[in-house]
């Protein structure tokens, strides 16, 4: 390979002995794909990784299993609806994610640490930043990838329900409206859950701890909020129910969709937040998503430098 290596002239015995040898390194002259391409690669890599694609067979098991578990009830409902020729699907589009929240929580708890904790634990983050991407690109790519993965997880069963409803010849306009509302709701849910999961996973890089921390935050907050709501319902303080609902991600989404997306609420008493309270719900949801993004950016500002 050493094409351009200069021929060694017999060196004079005295004088400068040092010489830089050209051993044939070539400089790269092809196209440079740049920052946006690197970001896109990181995004697709992370998204594939969230379902175990491009990873070992063992790590495909859990996400695929959760995905199947997520879709089976929808398939069963559709089968029943087609067979019995009912006029309505047994479950609203907006309600489905709330019912299956345990599966969604497990998915985010297992995949958020997978997405960010390993890079931190094995100190590979500096390798990413040696490419032409910045902190913001890394955070955006990871956030977008996990949000997309969650959206795939939550929207696919809705799609199954929608297609099934059309096959069962239910009212087209009605079903389309419900489907669209469901999609908006799961998109919000995906953004919120991905943000919370990533923030927690990014501050607990230790294996196992991140998973437990994400699950703890999601389930304990839901358990606490629904317990308090049940008590407030027994105490006839229905005003308090809506305000308590602000303190857990699931009830937050529930409140938003029952205020604006025509969903029936799962709050005790069946009374969701009014429109005024609904605005607060939306603001808090969007604020939380923004705060998660901000925290992530802050977390990665010093990593890898």
């Amino acid at each position: 390979m050493a094409v351009e290596q200069p021929l060694r002239t017999p060196a004079p015995t005295s004088g400068d002995q040092t010489r830089i040898h050209n051993i044939g390194y070539r400089s790269y002259e092809g196209p440079r794909l740049g920052r946006s391409y690197a970001r896109l690669s990181l995004y697709s890599q992370s998204l594939r990784g969230s379902y175990g694609l491009g990873r070992s067979a063992k790590s495909k098991v859990l996400p695929m299993l959760l995905f199947v578990v997520m879709c089976i009830p929808a398939a069963i409902m559709v089968a029943v609806a087609v067979a019995t020729k009912v006029k309505e699907l047994p479950v609203d589009y907006t309600r489905y994610a709330i019912i299956m929240q345990a599966v969604i929580s497990l998915y985010i708890a297992s995949q958020a640490p997978q997405s960010v904790s390993r890079d931190l634990r094995f100190k590979t983050v500096p390798l990413y930043f040696s490419r032409p991407i910045e902190t913001a690109d890394y955070v955006r790519a990871k956030f977008a990838a996990l949000t997309s993965a969650l959206f795939i997880l939550t929207a696919t069963p809705l799609l199954v329900l929608y297609v099934g409803a059309l096959l069962a010849e239910l009212d087209f306009a009605d079903q389309t409206k419900g489907f669209a509302q469901g999609l908006v709701s799961v998109a919000l849910l995906s953004l919120l859950f991905a943000g919370i999961g990533l923030v927690i996973a990014a501050v607990t890089p230790r294996r196992g701890f991140g998973i437990a921390a994400v699950i703890a935050v999601l389930t304990i907050s839901y358990g606490a909020v629904s317990t308090l709501q049940a008590i407030a319902h027994v105490q006839d303080s229905s005003q308090a129910i809506a305000w308590i609902g602000l303190f857990s991600p699931v009830t937050l989404i529930d409140g938003v969709q029952s205020a604006f997306l025509g969903a029936s609420t799962t709050f005790p008493g069946g009374v969701g937040p009014s429109n005024g309270e609904g605005v607060v719900y939306v603001l808090i949801t969007l604020g939380l998503i923004a705060a998660c993004y901000g925290l992530l950016t802050r977390r990665y500002r010093k990593v890898g430098l």
Binding site: K58, V103, L106, G208, A212, L228, V234
Partner: protein, 239 residues
Amino acid sequence: MYDPTVARLTYRALLGRRRALILGALPLLLIAISVAVRVLAGADDQTAADVLGGLALATMVPIIGVIAGTGAMGPEIDDGSVVYLLSKPIKRPTIIYTKLIVAIAVTMVFSAVPTLIAGFVLNGNGQQIAVAYTVAALVASIAYAALFLLLGTVSRHAVVFGLVYALVWEALFGSLVPGARTLSIQQWSLAVAQKVSGGDLVTSDVGLTTATILLVVVTVLATWYAGQKLRTLTLAGEE
């Protein structure tokens, strides 16, 4: 059978640095909720039973059990530092036994003690509810710690499997399929609690005899099998 040095190292792995804060956050939240409920609703036996049963025993004890049980063994196997421990002249079952004691102690301190405090805050131990749920939390701590310690020894994804058991099997299937309740540590410990309280606020689907036998069998079997697994442990790289 008990090695103080291993115990000290395990305590440090579980509670060192900021980890004690994370573990402590859950019990604090429980107590804060109890105070809020007491202020909002006053002392009420049914409410107290709901909060302690739904929040403390059904969610908090399993999660703390998962963290303590898998955290006692899992990370060490994971980062390979377990070889330094295994190369010492200590019997493998002794290591498991010591780690189990530590995991049980941590789970009990972080779940049973706050349950007792929360019970007293909620209704001042009316109808023995606080004591009953504390006993349930204590009993459940032993079984959960043993089971999750085994998971941590056997699998690299112990936390996920532990949570799937605690949340999907016990909570989701347990509420849908009555048969699943027979095979649930939560119900077994509730059976013991039922005996303690004597009232009808704490109920279980499993008889006391069955529950006790199953609890002992699960704990002993899990510990024994974890010891056996540690004797033939193979170390593997990430993924």
